[in-house]
Amino acid sequence: MQNAISVQQLTKTYDSGLTALHSVDLDIHDGEILALLGPNGAGKTTLISIICGLVRPTSGNVLVQGHDIQTDYKTTRSLIGLVPQELHVETFESVWNTVTFSRGLFGKKPNPALVESLLKDLSLWDKKDAKIMTLSGGMKRRVMIAKALSHEPKILFLDEPTAGVDVELRKDMWQLIGRLRQSGVTIILTTHYIEEAEEIADRVGVINKGRLVLIEEKNELMRKLGKKQLTLELHQALQTLPEGLSQYDLSLVDGGATLVYSYDTQAARSGIGSLLADLNRSGIAVKDLSTKQSSLEDIFVSLVEGAR
C-alpha cells in the first residue's frame, strides 16, 4: 500500500529552545483514519503544522504521496486540507465568501455547486449569507471544516475537531468523516477523547513528549494490550481473601462484596473455570458475574503514565 504521508526522522526545536518533536518516524496509509492521541503539549499540533507548511522542520523529511513538503510544497499542500485546533475566522466575511475564497486560494476553479453541497452537508446552508461573527462556536468550526474541504483534498487533518462541539454535531461529523473515507480521503485527527479514537479510527498513534510512543491497528492494539476483568458479586461480603486463592490476580472491592479477577485474553487458559471451582470449594457463593474488556483509555493512561 502506498503511503499518503511518510514522516522521516522529523525533529522540531522551537526558537525558545524547546524540542517539540524528537526524530519522529510515522507512515500514514492511504485511505485510513488515523487518530493521534497525546496529552497537552505532546507535539500533535506541531507535527500537523509542519506537514501542512505552517511550521518549519528543524531536521528530517516529510513526503506527501511521495512529494517532499519543502521542495515540492505546491503539490503537497494542494493535496491537504487542514482544520486547525484554534477557531480562526474572518469575522466580517460571509460564510459563502470565505468558503469560496478557500477554494480559490488552493488553486481550484470556482464551483458553486460543490460549495453548496458542502454547506448543506454541514447544516450551514441557511447561514450562507450570514457574517461569521454572528455564528455560534460550533457553527464556526463547521465553517472551518467547509473551508478545509472546499478544495477537495485527498488528505484531511482535523486538529481536535470535537473540542467544544455538541453531541449532535459530533455525530454529524463522524458521518461526514465516514463518507469522506468512503471516497478515499485519508483522515488524520487528534483528540483527547479516547472513545473517539476507539469509535472511528483504523489506527491509533500515541504521542508523548514529542515522541511517537505507539502506533498500532486499533483492533490489534486492543486485543494485544487488552486485559479482561471478571467481576463476581458475592452473596456474603468477605473481610480478606481466602488463603487458597492466592495464585489468582484477585482484588476485593465494594467493601468485600465484589471480587475482581484480572486475566490476560492472550493466555492459553483464562483460569476462570478453576477459579470458580476453587471458590466453590472455599464455600464462597457467587450471586452474579460479568466480564469487561479494558478500553483504549486504560491502555493510553498506562502508556503515558509509564513514560513519566
Binding site: L54, I80, L82, H88, E93, R103, L105, G107, K147
Partner: protein
C-alpha cells in the same frame, strides 16, 4: 503560477475594501478639499504662482502623492496584518502559493484601491483649480508605480508589525514628515541652500517631482532621476519581501 489563488486573494481583499468604501473615499476627499481651502486660499493669496504655475494647480500632484502614499501603506499593511492578528493567515500559509502570488494578491488589491483614490482626488482637485496634464500616460505610469511600490512597503510593515502601535509607527513617524518635507506643497528652490541639499536625500522628493513633471512638464529634479529612484525603491521592497518569505520571517516559526 497559481492564478486562481491570486484572483481569490485579490477579490477577497477588494470585497473587504468595498465594505469600507465610503469612509475610505470620504475622508481623503474631505481632507483634499480642506487643503485647497487652507493652502490654496490662504497661501495662494500670497504666492500666486510657483515656477510660473498657479499655486492651486501646483500643489495638486503633491496632494495626490500624499494620499497615494498614505493609503497604499495603510491598505497594504492592514491587509496582511489583520489575518495575522486574527489567525486566519494559517490558511494562506498552508495553501499552495508562493510569496510572489501572495504579494501580488494583497499588495495588488491595496494598490488598486489607492489608484482609485488618487484618481478621485484628481477629479476633486479639478473642481477647485484648472488642470492640464502634459503627459497623461506618464502620469498614470507614475501613479501606478508609486501605488505598487508603497503597497509593497506597507506589506512589509504589516508583516513586521506585531501590534497595532508598530503598524502606525512608520507611517506616522517617517512617511508623513517625509511627504510634507518632500516638496509636496512648494518647490525646493524656495528653500535655503542647505535645506535644498538635505531635501535631496528625501526619497519622496523624487516621487513628487517626477509626478509633477508629468503634469506640467517641469520639475525640481530630472524625470529620469525620479524614475530611477522609484525603481530602486521598488526593487528594494521586492527583495525584502522575498527575503521575508524565504526565511519565514514572522510568518512561520
Amino acid at each position: 503560477m497559481n492564478l486562481q489563488a491570486i484572483k481569490a486573494i485579490y477579490v477577497y481583499e477588494m470585497s473587504r475594501m468595498r465594505r469600507t468604501l465610503l469612509q475610505s473615499i470620504v475622508s481623503p476627499v474631505l481632507s483634499t478639499s480642506l487643503y485647497f481651502v487652507v493652502f490654496g486660499t490662504a497661501i495662494g493669496a500670497r504666492i500666486e504662482t510657483v515656477e510660473g504655475i498657479h499655486y492651486g494647480s501646483f500643489i495638486v500632484p503633491g496632494l495626490i502623492m500624499l494620499t497615494l502614499l498614505q493609503n497604499s501603506i495603510s491598505n497594504a499593511s492592514f491587509g496582511i496584518y489583520f489575518p495575522k492578528f486574527v489567525g486566519t493567515i494559517y490558511e494562506v500559509l498552508s495553501a499552495p502559493v508562493n510569496f510572489l502570488e501572495i504579494v501580488i494578491g494583497y499588495a495588488g488589491a491595496a494598490a488598486t484601491k489607492s489608484i482609485i483614490l488618487g484618481l478621485i482626488i484628481l477629479a476633486t482637485a479639478h473642481l477647485f483649480v484648472p488642470l492640464h496634464i502634459e503627459h497623461p500616460v506618464l502620469m498614470v505610469f507614475f501613479l501606478v508605480l508609486t501605488a505598487v511600490t508603497f503597497s509593497l512597503f506597507g506589506f512589509i510593515i504589516g508583516i513586521w508589525a506585531d501590534n497595532f502601535e508598530k503598524l502606525q509607527l512608520i507611517p506616522m513617524l517617517i512617511v508623513t514628515p517625509l511627504v510634507f518635507l518632500g516638496g509636496s506643497f512648494y518647490s525646493i528652490e524656495m528653500l535655503p541652500e542647505t535645506w535644498q541639499t538635505v531635501t535631496l536625500f528625501n526619497p519622496v522628493l523624487y516621487l513628487v517631482s517626477g509626478f509633477r513633471w508629468s503634469f506640467f512638464g517641469q520639475s525640481d529634479v530630472s524625470v529620469h532621476v525620479s524614475l530611477i529612484m522609484i525603481g530602486v525603491f521598488l526593487l528594494a521592497c521586492m527583495s525584502i519581501v522575498w527575503w521575508m518569505f524565504k526565511t519565514g520571517y514572522k510568518l512561520r516559526t
